[in-house]
Symmetry: C2
Subunit: 300 residues, 2 copies
């Protein structure tokens, strides 16, 4: 089934204890698309500036079956982010942000995407996320990401959006900030009352949780020996999940659980090298092997 | 099969954001025994002072089928510990320790325990742990706990002990400290080279891992709405594991995985109230119900 992501396309400069890369292709929509592309065609809606190299970057995306008809090229500069991870690399320290053309992003969903079934609203202003969602006619599954900034500054708009979506993908801190409740499950139950059918909680090396009204499913993180760069873990996780769901077009609880495993597998590749490097070198057979291994880790 | 624990018996004074209790029965051997007693008879070897109330505490243990013939009562005072948990309650801040008679504990295993099959060496000096182990004739399964203090101060003795045991039960920080390696799985593989057949890694709310040469098994923590007091979580977890293994006397990888789930279930009850309060009010049917629920949380 058709899958669409709306989010940022960026050039990232990333420093970790394992090295540094400058101006590599990144952004939420890119990581999501790349993760999803292992399973399904995917349409990307975003914006870049004229510094975006048509030859290199666009060819890279096309080669992955990522449809970029919705990627607008505008006068100005592409979104640039520079960050550093230290210590246990759990959180990035932002060194600089230059929004460029992304600062005036008002996504108009092209007509040929408005019948899309699977929709991912990457992290962004909830007002903008809602505007995007309102353009999609009859989505079958809408997942949404957010972050502490929006919870603190646009909570009302975020709650309005949350009423309309099927699944919220967040981390433990965000769940607590959103509800004011410390305990994950209590907080998740509260959020489920607001509208979504499910909550996906990302816990980094500790894996992820899928919580619905009736189900609670937990998976460990796929054990990676060396995490070189955590950038894009969350978005490629979401991409893996939704790519698998769009491919199988099956929203049974069992299939949702499977999608969590596939998302975790994709994220495990992402963090093994800088930017998209590892994902570029990964094939579906390797994804499947890691999926089977992760499944065995939770099987009695 | 016969199960024995050697460790501390203490009076604890515990403060958490949920309240305070004074001089309640605690100590590693007590929590372990209590956890194990849901599954199997258990023999406790330890030492207390004359301030240990024979009527109350001993009756409580006997009622749980905990054999205390090996609990020595000596002139002096029982081990007392006072600690406080704040914030996310991940770590206790020790306010005071008074070793009392435990300071001169030189456990002589009574002859009738020396054929014991299942042995738990609770946290303590590795030299003492080895002395204890050397008195057991042909143990079938030996699990051992330790802590940062022994890793820092008696590492050589600890490594000698580790060669002789079947399973080490530790947390992530201890694994890292012991090996100087950051990544859990790499570190675990290193420790497995030193002798043990398995490593059990306790991760608190994030569950636990069982790592052997050929297997990697991960479970989430049983989701508890309110954690009132984490004291005893690790020891009662170990007690649940070994109690189940002693009862079933089956060391297949599948049964070891099951034991991890049972251990986690026991710990989940422990932390719901202060000291042993919740465990005292818990019956086997409730343990089994929570086991089934935890199992469902990792089942596709």
């Amino acid at each position: 089934m058709s899958l669409i992501v709306v989010g940022s396309v960026a050039f990232d400069t990333i420093e970790t204890p394992y090295g540094k890369v400058e101006n590599v292709l990144g952004g939420s929509a890119i990581y999501f698309s790349y993760g999803a592309s292992f399973f399904s065609p995917i349409s990307l809606v975003g914006i870049v500036g004229q510094d975006f190299s048509l030859d290199e970057e666009l060819e890279l995306l096309k080669a992955r079956n990522i449809d970029i008809k919705g990627l607008k090229i505008e006068n100005g500069k592409t979104f640039r982010w520079s960050g550093r991870y230290v210590g246990d690399m759990c959180q990035a320290e932002t060194l600089s942000v230059s929004l460029g053309v992304f600062g005036k992003f008002q996504p108009l969903i092209p007509p040929y995407y408005r019948n899309c079934s699977y929709v991912f609203l990457a992290n962004g202003s909830p007002k903008l996320q809602k505007k995007i969602l309102d353009q999609i006619k009859h989505p079958k599954l809408v997942f949404c990401d957010t972050m502490n900034y929006w919870i603190n500054n646009e909570k009302k708009a975020l709650l309005t959006l949350i009423e309309q979506i099927d699944g919220l993908i967040v981390n433990n801190d965000e769940v607590r900030l959103l509800t004011g409740m410390y305990h994950t499950v209590t907080a998740a139950r509260e959020i489920l009352k607001w509208g979504p059918k499910m909550l996906i909680i990302k816990k980094g090396e500790h894996g992820a949780l899928l919580i619905t009204k009736d189900d609670f499913f937990a998976i460990p993180g796929y054990p990676i020996e060396v995490v070189r760069d955590p950038t894009g873990a969350g978005d490629s996780f979401a991409g893996g999940m939704m790519g698998f769901l769009a491919k199988t077009n099956n929203l049974s609880i069992k299939n949702l659980k499977k999608s969590l495993l596939y998302g975790s597998v994709i994220a495990s590749f992402t963090i093994e090298d800088f930017g998209l490097e590892k994902l570029k070198q990964t094939n579906y057979k390797q994804v499947e092997a890691r999926y089977q291994r992760l499944l065995s880790m939770i099987t009695l």
